[in-house]
């Protein structure tokens, strides 16, 4: 319990630092929302007036405090390109990104464990070697290029879906998921390759430990040892790895959304960066960062539940 409290306090401090970083990062940029609203040839007086109206001439700390106060109440400010509160922009797009990441993560879990275990079971067998080559190959393909290939194969050639014809969650749930499965696969495949590779080497490392030999000499079958002893130990580092993968998938959706024309957080972020709409950029970055930090916390706690050997003082890594 004390451990969890300590972890949660670290989480709050981390998030606090993230807010400072995301806020100040955008303060060093010359020019602010005023110059983009009023244009290049606005009079200095008009600029000054609007700056004052928007509170931009206050000291940095006061502006940060005001922004943070708003964020805590769910108010991320106003988007300069859409002229509406950032929150309204976020809420609908969040559904798309979260579902996309969730489907992708389910796929990663479903496929990487069986493949990784089968591959490690017969070290250097045909299947194992084939998998080593395939994992290397799939890790070399950028997910967005994979997305384009999937569009080409399943959209253009096989006509299983109509590229670009996204249906929103509210409109039709079935069609929404039927469309989302393709970007989810595109994101999942390289990550499955990474997880298989990691799991395989983790199992192989365990296989050379003394306890495996002892279990073998006691007459246990190879299968029994693998299931009862090795997998348990091999999965511990994999949990940390999967925590990282989940964070990556979430961030990876930023690019994949572009390929499949999905109105998610990523699209919002990219358009906002191109248009220097910093309120939106800050909000999206803060959102993804928060999810990542929370996932890291959950992984740490899960770690301790699974492996009680981990000592109180940060022996987890």
């Amino acid at each position: 319990m004390k451990y969890i409290l300590k972890k949660i306090s670290t989480l709050i401090i981390t998030l606090f630092l993230v807010t400072i970083f995301t806020f100040t990062a955008f303060q060093v940029i010359p020019g602010d929302s005023v110059s983009s609203t009023l244009g290049m040839d606005a009079s200095p007086e008009a600029i000054q007036a609007l700056r004052h109206e928007r509170g931009l001439d206050d000291p940095l700390v006061i502006r940060y405090g005001r922004w943070l106060g708003g964020v805590l109440k769910g108010d991320f400010g106003e988007s300069t390109q859409y002229n509406m509160p950032v929150w309204n922009l976020l809420s609908t797009r969040l559904t798309v990104t979260i579902w996309l990441a969730a489907i992708s993560i389910v796929l990663i879990f479903l496929f990487s464990f069986p493949i990784g275990i089968l591959s490690a079971k017969k070290e250097d067998g045909f299947f194992d070697r084939l998998m080593v080559f395939l994992t290397q190959t799939f890790m070399a393909i950028p997910p967005f290029f994979l997305g384009m290939i999937l569009t080409l194969v399943f959209g253009v050639c096989l006509k299983w879906f109509i590229p670009g014809n996204y249906v929103s969650f509210q409109e039709d749930k079935g069609k929404f998921f039927a469309y989302l499965i393709y970007p989810a696969i595109a994101m999942a495949i390289p990550k499955i390759a990474m997880t298989v590779k990691f799991l395989r080497s983790s199992i192989r490392r365990q296989m050379h430990f003394e306890y495996v030999r002892t279990a073998k000499s006691k007459g246990n079958s190879k299968r029994g040892i693998l299931v009862k002893h090795v997998l348990k130990n091999a999965c511990i580092p994999v949990i940390t790895f999967l925590g990282m993968i989940i964070a990556d998938v979430l961030a990876g959706s930023i690019i994949i959304e572009q390929v499949f024309n999905l109105p998610g957080m990523g699209r919002l972020l990219v358009v906002a960066i191109a248009n220097r709409d910093y309120a939106v950029v800050q909000a999206v970055v803060l959102y993804i960062a928060t999810i990542v930090v929370v996932i890291n916390l959950l992984v740490d706690i899960l770690y301790r539940v699974i492996d009680p050997r981990i000592s109180k003082e940060g022996g987890a890594r």
Binding site: Q136, I141, M148, A251, I255, V270
Partner: protein
Amino acid sequence: MKVSWNRIIGAILVGIVLLFVIIGVFYTPYDPNAMNGAAKSQAPSLLHWLGTDNFGRDLLSRVMEGSRTTFFVAIATVAIGGTIGTLVGALTGFYGGRIDQIIMRINDGITSFPSILLTLVIISVFGIGKYKIIWALGIVFIPSFVRVVRSEYMVQKEMDYVKTAKLMGASDVRILFLHILPNIRPILVSTITIGFNNAVLAEAGMSYLGLGVQPPDASLGRMLSEAQAYLFSAPWYAIAPGVMIVITVLGLSLVNEG
């Protein structure tokens, strides 16, 4: 280095890529930026081996040119990240202490966030463009080098040859860079290779989003981004640069890991 089939395949792939890029420096079949209204979106043929794009530009020539831009960005990125990262890693690993602790805390904090997100934040601060993306990616790549180099220095500094050098009165700078650095070369080379691969993928991703290399410059990511709209009418437009990325990254990782 053990010679395995994977390594041989990898070396062949890397060889092909290198040959391709080097030829591209001296000779391209067509001017990469020359438009040809009579040959718009043509499928691969004897005249245009990889086909042409929507402006009638020869894709083989453009892939040659684009690979060069992409590799330039990747090499510059690794040079920035690798130099700063190695320096910080060497100093923190060698001296340890309070500053080391603080830097490692920051390092761990940064690496726990997805690198795409970090790159995007830096790009939105720096702005868009070829040299800005190099700096953005270079900064994002620092922590991975710090981590690897630091842990190597921590091991090496306890070794007898370092102690002997110290007793013989060698200066710290000498020990750091003339004694220890050559000894961690294999790991450094491997880290640089992985870094290069990640930089190629990152450049492709950012230019694909329109936040990296800008037209009329061709880069592999930029070409993929332009090809997206013609995926139905001219699929070879996307396949040419995409396959180039895959061959490069796969070849290097096979050579690196065997």
